[in-house]
C-alpha cells in the first residue's frame, strides 16, 4: 500500500472549495487532501451538501470558489472529469438494455481491460447477464452500477451513498471493492449515513454542516 507520507503529491487536494447556488452557500469553504491509498468518508445530515460536493469533484458542477489540485496539478472542471468515476443516486445505465449490454457499452467507452462478464461475476450478478435492467431489483441495479466502477481506470472513486438498497452481502461487496481499489493505489471519497461498518482502509472523515 502507498503510504500517504511517501507520496509527493496527494491524489486530490482542495483549498477553500466553495459551492453556492443562486448566492446561497451550499457548502464550504473546505480544505482537505486525499492521498492515494486512502479514503475519506463525508459525513453530514440531509441537505448538508454531500452530494453536491461529490458532483463538484466529479466535474459535473463548477465550483464557485477555491482550487482543486488533482495529482499535483491545478485542474478545472473539464480535467477533473477525466480522472474520476462517479456512483450517484441514479442508476446510470439503461433500463431497456440487459445487464451485460450495459456493461459492454461502459467497457467500450473506457477501453477497459477487464471483461464485462468478469465484472458482473464480481458483483454477484452471474446468471443475470441477459436480464433487462428494468427487471432487476433496486439492489441488483446498485450492484450493476458498482460493476461499472470496476471497468473505469479512474484513480479517484466518488461514491454517493454506495450502501443504499444493498443487503448484508452487498455491503460487504462494496467494502471489498473499496478495499481492493484503495490497496491498488486508488482513492475513494464516499458519503454515508454512518450506520454501516466502514471499509477496512485508512480512512479520514470530513464533516459538512448545513
Amino acid at each position: 500500500m502507498n503510504s500517504p507520507a511517501s507520496d509527493p503529491a496527494p491524489l486530490l487536494e482542495c483549498r477553500g472549495l466553495c459551492f453556492s447556488r443562486n448566492e446561497e452557500p451550499i457548502f464550504g469553504p473546505l480544505d482537505f487532501t486525499l492521498a492515494a491509498g486512502t479514503a475519506i468518508q463525508v459525513l453530514g445530515g440531509n441537505g448538508a451538501g454531500k452530494t453536491t460536493l461529490l458532483r463538484v469533484l466529479a466535474g459535473l458542477l463548477p465550483a464557485s470558489q477555491g482550487e482543486v489540485h488533482f495529482q499535483g496539478r491545478s485542474v478545472d472542471q473539464q480535467h477533473l472529469v477525466q480522472g474520476t468515476a462517479f456512483l450517484g443516486h441514479l442508476p446510470g445505465h439503461k433500463a431497456d438494455l440487459s445487464a451485460l449490454e450495459n456493461l459492454q457499452f461502459t467497457a467500450a467507452l473506457h477501453a477497459s481491460a477487464l471483461a464485462p462478464e468478469a465484472a458482473l461475476t464480481d458483483v454477484g450478478l452471474a446468471g443475470f447477464e441477459q436480464q433487462q435492467a428494468r427487471r432487476l431489483s433496486a439492489g441488483q441495479n446498485k450492484r450493476l452500477a458498482l460493476a461499472r466502477l470496476r471497468l473505469s481506470a479512474a484513480p479517484l472513486w466518488l461514491l454517493d451513498e454506495p450502501y443504499a438498497n444493498l443487503d448484508r452481502d452487498g455491503i460487504a461487496l462494496v467494502n471489498r471493492q473499496i478495499g481492493d481499489h484503495v490497496n491498488a493505489g486508488g482513492a475513494v471519497l464516499l458519503t454515508t449515513h454512518g450506520a454501516y461498518a466502514p471499509p477496512p482502509v485508512p480512512m479520514h472523515t470530513l464533516e459538512l454542516r448545513a
Binding site: A58, G59, L60, L61, P62, V81, Q82, T84, A85, F86, G88, H89, L90, P91, G92, H93, K94, A95, D96, L97, E101, Q104, F105, T106, A108, L109, H110, A111, R148, S152, A154
Partner: protein
C-alpha cells in the same frame, strides 16, 4: 484518447442506441408513420387534381419529413438525463461531442433515412414529375441530417426544462425555416427550369458541413450546462 479508442467508443454508442431503438420499436416507428399518413392524406383531401398535387408535392414532402423528425427530438437526450446515463457519458474518456454526433446519426438513420428511401414512392403518390425526383432526393439527403443536427442542439438546450415539447418546437422551427426554404426551394427552382437550383443544394451542403462540426460541440456544451 487515441483514434482506435474513438472508433470503438463511437461504435459502442451506435450499437447501444440502435439496441434501445429496437427495444422500443413501436415508438421509433411513430415519426415514419406520421409522415406516411400526412403524405397519404393529401391526395385524398385534394381529390384527383393531378396538376395541383404535383405543384405542392415538394413542399408537402419536405414539411411532412421535417415535422416527423421534430416528433422524437424531445426524447433524444431526456431519458439519458433521467436515468443518469448522461452523467456517465460525461465522465467517460470519450469526448461528449463525438458521442452526441453518433447519437444524432442514429436519430437520422431511424427517422429520416426510411422516409428518404420511401421518397420515390411518395413522389409517385403526389404525381411529382419524374425529372424533379433527383433535385428532391438531393435536397432531402442533405437537408435531413442538417435538421437532425440543429434539432439535437435545441434538444440539448431544453433538456433541463420539464415538459419542454412546445418550447423545443418554438425554438427549433425558426432554425428549420432556412433549411426548408432552400430544400423545397431547390425543387421549385428546378421545376421552373432554372439552372440555379443547384446553388440551393450547394448552400445546404455548406450548412451541413458547418453543422457537422459545430452542432455536436454546441450540444455537448448545452448538455454540460443543463446538468449543472
Amino acid at each position: 484518447m487515441s483514434a482506435p479508442g474513438l472508433l470503438a467508443a463511437g461504435r459502442a454508442q451506435i450499437q447501444r442506441d440502435l439496441r434501445l431503438v429496437w427495444r422500443r420499436r413501436g415508438d421509433a416507428l411513430q415519426p415514419v408513420l406520421f409522415a406516411v399518413m400526412v403524405i397519404a392524406l393529401f391526395p385524398l383531401a385534394l381529390g384527383g387534381e393531378h396538376e395541383q398535387l404535383a405543384r405542392i408535392a415538394p413542399g408537402v414532402l419536405w414539411v411532412a419529413i421535417l415535422l416527423a423528425g421534430l416528433l422524437t427530438l424531445d426524447v433524444l437526450f431526456r431519458s439519458d438525463v433521467d436515468d443518469g446515463s448522461l452523467e456517465q457519458l460525461l465522465l467517460s474518456p470519450a469526448p461528449l461531442a463525438w458521442l452526441i454526433a453518433m447519437r444524432v446519426l442514429v436519430h437520422w438513420a431511424v427517422t429520416a433515412l426510411p422516409l428518404l428511401l420511401l421518397t420515390p414512392v411518395f413522389a409517385e403518390l403526389l404525381f411529382l414529375p419524374g425529372r424533379l425526383l433527383t433535385p428532391l432526393m438531393l435536397s432531402l439527403a442533405l437537408g435531413t441530417p442538417l435538421l437532425s443536427l440543429i434539432g439535437a442542439m435545441v434538444a440539448a438546450l431544453t433538456v433541463g426544462i420539464r415538459r419542454s415539447g412546445i418550447l423545443l418546437a418554438v425554438l427549433a422551427l425558426p432554425l428549420y425555416v432556412p433549411v426548408l426554404v432552400f430544400g423545397a426551394g431547390a425543387v421549385v427552382a428546378a421545376d421552373q427550369g432554372l439552372s440555379s437550383w443547384i446553388g440551393a443544394i450547394y448552400l445546404l451542403a455548406a450548412g451541413l458541413v458547418l453543422a457537422l462540426v459545430l452542432a455536436p460541440l454546441a450540444a455537448a456544451t448545452a448538455l454540460r450546462i443543463a446538468l449543472s
